[in-house]
Symmetry: C2
Subunit: 231 residues, 2 copies
């Protein structure tokens, strides 16, 4: 009985959220700002991938980061150390981000002066996949130590994303992880999803990811004609 | 606005769930059956720890396992290969287990003939911590590759559990993980929580965990006077 009640409320909340998300996506597009939503399990390396993405693309795009966490600002502090603007959303224990929460983050960050905003969602392979954040693209990370059976166990997340980063490839000697098996599982759930194995520790493979992301940004908001001048 | 609505429903659901959980806990105690709820991130090694626990304690207690998953029965199949009874709960995309779902699992498994039932919750460090499953004890796993900052980021989970298993210690050479730092963070959240570093791959440290678990079972349902005769 309680499950039925929950689902009825959820559908209303999801519909309201989808409408809000679509209007945010349009607003950002109008301002030439691309929003990327990054999702993964706890400890898969979301913050580390954001830091590597800033390292590679920071000279090309004006980047901002919105970090979400249940109760701390550890990640925003790490990102701010790179000199990039970071906002922290504290969800107060909530397990996902919705469009309204992201909107608060965007307004705190100041979306006008940014080309690329990266949203680090709550570490969770379940709930965040259900809520449209207003992002132009959602991507996810699966780390080698988590195991190659995850697409079978969290199919909605693997279906909801446009790209899969397979992180921590430097753990290959220890982890019993078959990248080709993951490609095959993903192919069944989401035939067009590219898979980018990489290691943020060694840098290997990171540019395949950032090249893909650059392409997505340019398709959405157009190319940047002049490179940024580092301050 | 949608957040307020969600919270109001949630409180009613949580209260109803807590009542159901308490009555299940009593029912199991009356039958001499101990229920352990095991929680962790995806890929932290819940199923592997269950397999090791069966290996060490399977001669001492009659064990059953309830596996929860969004959409697959991968884990129950692995457990059933040991010869132990396993039931699979498919949550249909739901991010946690509540007492009613566990009750369905218990009835499918047949609680009468078992001393120890291990419940593998959905892989998620957020939502499962909020729902009483009816277990006598909840324990959690944090794996080395996830990183030692997790107690600061998922405080409710670390507060809700009675023991912390730090798994995959065989990754120590690669993972930048400080077990003492975790002990200190945990101490602040949950002063009486023991921490058991172990590797299911090498077996190192597993008996510290199973000794603690045995002690908890005996406190709840009394000691087993005669060892089991393996069939």
């Amino acid at each position: 009985m309680s499950r039925v009640k929950l689902i009825q409320v959820k559908e209303g909340v999801l519909a309201e959220n989808a409408e809000k998300a679509e209007s945010m996506r349009e607003r950002l597009r109008g301002k030439g700002t691309f929003l990327l939503n990054l999702m993964a399990s706890p400890g898969a390396g979301k913050t580390h991938l954001i830091l590597e993405t800033i390292r590679v693309l920071g000279g090309q795009w004006r980047i901002g980061v919105i970090e979400a966490d249940l109760d701390s600002s550890v990640d925003a502090e790490r990102v701010a150390e790179t000199g990039v603007c970071a906002a922290q959303i504290s969800t107060g224990g909530l397990c996902h981000l919705d469009a309204s929460m992201v909107d608060q983050g965007l307004r705190a960050l100041g979306e006008e002066d940014l080309d690329l905003i990266i949203l680090e969602n709550v570490g969770n392979l379940v709930c965040p996949a259900e809520f449209d954040t207003g992002a132009h693209v959602s991507a996810m990370i699966l780390s080698l130590p988590e195991g190659d059976d995850k697409p079978r166990k969290y199919p909605l997340m693997f279906s909801a994303c446009r790209a899969l980063v397979v992180s921590k490839t430097d753990y290959a000697a220890l982890a019993d992880f078959d990248v080709d098996a993951v490609r095959q599982s993903v192919q069944r759930l989401n035939p067009d999803m590219p898979v980018f194995p990489l290691s943020c520790r060694t840098g290997e493979g990171v540019e395949n990811w950032t090249d893909w992301l650059t392409d997505r940004i340019e398709k959405e908001i157009g190319p940047r004609n002049t490179p940024l001048n580092p301050a």
